[in-house]
Amino acid sequence: MARIGVFVCHCGENIGRTVDAAAVAAAASKFSGVVHAVDYKYMCSDPGQNLIRQAIKEKRLTGVVVAACSPRMHEPTFRRATAESGVNPFLCEMANVREHCSWVHENREEATAKAIDLVRVIVEKVKRNQPLVPIKVPVTRRALVIGGGIAGIQAALDIANGGHEVILVEKDPSIGGHMAQLSETFPTLDCSQCILTPRMVEVAQHPKIKLYVYSEVEEVKGFIGNFEVKIRRKATSVNNALCTGCGACQAACVVKKVPSEFNRGLGSRTAIYSPFLQAVPNKPVIDQENCLRYKAAQKKGIPPVESTVCGKCLQACPIAPQKAVDFSLWQDTFVTEKVGAIVVATGFDLPPLSTYGEYGAGKYADVIDGMQFERLASASGPTQGAMKRPSDGKEPKEVVFIQCVGSRDNARGCAYCSKICCMYTAKHTMLYKHKVHDGKASVFYMDVRAAGKDYDEFWRRAVEEDGAQYLRGRVSKVYKRGDKLIVKGVDTLSGELVEIKADMVVLATAIVAQRGAERLAQRLSIAYDMNKFLSEAHPKLRPVETNTAGIFLAGACQAPKDIPDTVAQASGAASKVQGLFSSQELARDPTVAHVNEAACVACWYCADCCPYGAIEKKEIRDKKGNLIKMVASVNEGVCQGCGLCAATCRSKSVELDGFKDEQVYAEIVAL
């Protein structure tokens, strides 16, 4: 006979307010098989867990049902408590009476009735649960980091310094990400490149880090400890083993007017290019869309190596006898790597300027976004750091900064705060004033959000020491009159309409998810939110893990973040990876499928539908070795426990542990 204990949690008032926990416990005590039922204020606390431990011993419980929060929250906690008292942890299950009941219903009577139902369902399931033993799988102690911005760099260095191999994949020709584009950083105003480039070099020289730039993750197979990743290495048309990064090819290239991505369109680059002087690795790539030879070859339908068009870069390459520029390297190649853990650090993106037409963005050259301002202010930028406006190169004497452009604006699809704009706008006003002493900087803001160490002091400095004028209000329109940009807005504190004749307008545009984040998330089987930012496993308690074991998050791919937070999260993800790599073997969830060999008719429907190829064909032979029949067999190391096979099997020969037909039917009947 089953001896089930039911433990109903009040969760302070979270459950108790709408669900009568005592009534639930009283009702549960009458269910068949339940020998013990109690309620308690905080079941997850130590005294609460002790109630479970004691009851298991005193009442000789064979199963535990905890009616509390979501199993996604505390199932491991209660399973551990159960295991400590000598009962198999898989005989403990949770009824979700908080997220699915007390928090979403208001009527106490209805909510209590529902909670009783939910407990009954789980009691019936637990009565049919069987002890399961975690499956041991080996761990490949090698990590993949996707994205070579500051998050990926930090994670890669931390893991590599911990003694494990790292594969770092970056989609651009150089690592560095957005941080490499910044001029100076808040709240210290130290030069971004000065703190970043040494790290980039460290990555390139680290014996444990294998760097794949100009590459993208194409396919991910496997599971925690045992991933197999296919990486697309985009064709660079340059033999990196020979190239010295002298730059002769770039100087010779005749295509000179390609807008530079690194300078966010403010400067131009050549078709064979390295994004910036401090690039790591400092080896150029040929942009096939803009190279004359590639374009001509594509028109003729021949490989570029057979074309004779242009070829100036090839002629200019001083490497002999074999040139480093090599048009035979025109096709993407693929490599497959085995890794045990993955850190996703793909960062953020910025919307195209033309999104914000009401501010004249995309229409007037002198309406720029924050990143373009960074490039204007940067010593490595198109103006070598001189403050010159894009349209005519004049020094702007009056600059208007507009905050919350797109952010905190549901109509624009970004209901969220982009978090870093208040701070970088304050920084921009300072950088501007430091370069143009007699200039005037005005900021239109909604609120100034400067929470963080030394942050509030920083923006106050912009106002009090550098004289930035902060106007609380929105801008309705920006238009051109003569060579001035007229900014019409309102100062809600004085209640007056404001009109400023500006020379340049800087928009603090929303931070949006990286393009293709959704596709990558699907390849990795991880979740993303409605803004396409990747989802952490728990917003408070598991901020660097995803819901897929072995895959971790770092940086702005999860949500808009500043550099300190990004680096902290990257180190957090790296330490999670190192924790995972601290053992040779890994205990995996034993929720896997099993085949009843006597009933299997070898139709292979299960094998056809299995997303992991976990179904193998097994021969059944008699004593003499004659083949009697073939049956399906599940490879436990590969099976992920989705249960597709169980639902597909025509002869009902496949069962999924933990979700057997018998258990599910019992749940249905209990309702």
């Binding site: 006979m1 089953a2 098989g33 979501s70 199993p71 996604r72 979700n96 908080r98 997220e99 699915h100 009941c101 928090w103 979403v104 219903h105 208001e106 009527n107 209805e110 909510a111 009735a113 529902k114 139902d117 939910l118 369902v121 019936e124 009565k127 049919r128 998330a521 699907q522 089987s525 979740a527 993303y528 939110d529 409605m530 989802s535 819901n547 897929t548 929720t591 539908c609 997303p611 992991y612 992920q640 426990g641 989705c642 249960g643 597709l644 169980a646 639902a647 597909t648 999924l656 979700f659 037909d661 018998e662 599910v664 039917y665 019992a666 749940e667 249905i668 009947v669 309702l671």
Partner: protein, 186 residues
């Protein structure tokens, strides 16, 4: 007189509450329902959720069993196409579901009682909407008695009773047209 009729109707409605059973996947919809909870989005209390790893685990017989056990509506919900935690489980579920719905319609079940919805882990509000809409439909349709009428017509219950009375194992393995009954737990 008219007033009394109305009153009767109202009290009848109070007595009957729709029972809607939802089969959801662990990774998207269950998490979405959790999000509705953490966001304190209120919805109808007439929903009971059964958690499965994936919508691909849902055997169409689960739905039949739910109706047999007195459900007035069944909701199936999982990850959006392309987002399945198990890569392709929801595609299999969708195919199975398309065929199965046709079959249900063929045997005379109002399809408003069986709904399929994609609800991701980020869509707490959508979950609340889907539940409210579903419960609303079922409320309008009233109690679902079609299955039991069908059973009575097929004579299965009578057969079962006879089998039970005759000492046979009537509640054992599935009978043609029905679903496997639950075996008593140890």
């Amino acid at each position: 007189m008219e007033h009394k009729e109305q009153k009767d109707q109202v009290s009848a409605q109070r007595v009957w509450q729709p029972k809607v059973i939802a089969f959801v996947c662990n990774w998207c919809t269950y998490a979405g329902a959790d999000l509705a909870g953490t966001s304190r989005i209120k919805y109808d209390a007439n929903i009971r959720v059964i958690r499965l790893p994936c919508t691909g685990r849902i055997d169409p017989l689960f739905v039949i069993k739910a109706f047999e056990q007195g459900a007035d509506g069944v909701l199936v919900s999982g990850c959006h196409p392309g987002d399945c935690h198990y890569n392709t489980g929801n595609y299999h579920a969708r195919r199975r579901w398309t065929l199965f719905r046709e079959l249900l319609e063929f045997v005379g079940i109002d399809l408003r009682r069986v709904q399929f919805a994609w609800v991701s882990a980020a869509e707490g509000a959508k979950w609340a909407e889907v539940v409210n809409e579903m419960v609303q439909h079922v409320r309008e349709l009233g109690p679902f008695e079609g299955y039991h009428v069908m059973l009575a017509r097929s004579g299965r219950d009578a057969w079962l009773e006879k089998a039970a009375a005759g000492g046979g194992n009537g509640s054992g393995k599935g009978v043609a047209g029905g679903t496997p009954a639950v075996q008593k737990a140890e």
